[in-house]
Point group: C3
Chain length 144, copies 3
């Protein structure tokens, strides 16, 4: 067996408010270019006010319901919040990030992420204002 | 040091309704067969309506309480849910998956997953109807 | 390219009650000693009543608000809890662990974890009594 190889690349996602932004194709393209056939793809977001999720990617109403659920689960303007220098969506954004994921780790086989039929990878933006979000993709594995 | 090796296998879990299904032994067996001594075991579920958790595996009441908590945290039949084509447990199942994990990553040393004494790996099924669930296990590391 | 290398070390964190304990520097030191330049750092906690999070590390009020949120999200003394042999903070500690993370996986480039400016790695202790917590750090990647 060939020696495992590591490939690292960055993705920048420009967000325009709270919501989910699919990045599956961008990660797949990085994987294709890496020529790694078998291994692990790690996706990591370098922020604490947005996060990553793997979610149903066929019906957009599923993501809308998810977003509405999170607005109710972590409401703004809680009387006990001390950290609100950047506005009422500041503290909820950190909590929503901790309740979801900074990284997603996905097995690679036959040169493809082994996502199920309905799984997509999404950046979950928790801030209202537009942001430029940095995501790192690191693939480790055996080349063809 | 020998060159790292990668081993991939699938597990199918047949579920019979909502609840937790332990898969620790199945993952341990795959690790044994891989003959990898030091590295990482990644467990990944290929669905968005069930998920993975690492949980107390000694006392079944702990898992029952966890399941009851999730039923309350993400209730069915919320008036704002739009995505319910597959029934009232459809949307809650996606939300519960996002709040838990699509993958668990566990260090391997001396040929064993480095789980603590009370840690087990579980598939967390969020749908009421029986399902056949696909889980991938990828182990990367140094053979003996 | 050189053959990837694996380095494993343990961290023990002595906790004195519920709260967040930063371990970023301890993980960075292990990474420095490993001399690995490019790869993955995996941090894994070997318990089910404390967990790991990546969180804003500049303003301590953000972590205090997070802790208060979790006290409300997973309250003690729920009438339906059966598992409370170790006290009223027992079952909530398992649920809080499942809602956060047993592992965090962080890409390494140029010999450093690729954390964003405000990201720190924290042990999140969910028990009131002092504990000695075992964390494993496994780094896999290319040496310089």
């Amino acid at each position: 067996m060939a020696s495992p190889k590591i490939c690292t690349e960055s993705i920048t996602v420009t967000t325009s408010g709270k919501g989910t932004y699919e990045i599956t194709d961008q990660v797949s393209n990085i994987l294709s270019h890496s020529r790694i056939r078998t291994g692990l793809a790690t996706i990591f977001v370098r922020h604490t006010s947005c996060s990553l999720i793997i979610m149903e990617n066929a019906d957009p109403t599923a993501r809308r319901d998810l977003e509405k659920f999170f607005d109710r689960l972590v409401p703004e303007n809680q009387s006990y919040f001390e950290h609100n220098d950047e506005g009422s969506d500041d503290m909820p954004s950190h909590i929503r990030s901790v309740l979801t994921h900074s990284s997603e780790v996905i097995p690679v086989a036959d040169g493809r992420m082994q996502l199920g039929t309905w799984q997509g990878v999404f950046l979950f933006e928790h801030r209202r204002v537009a942001h430029s979000r940095k995501i790192m993709v690191l693939i480790i594995g055996d080349p063809e």
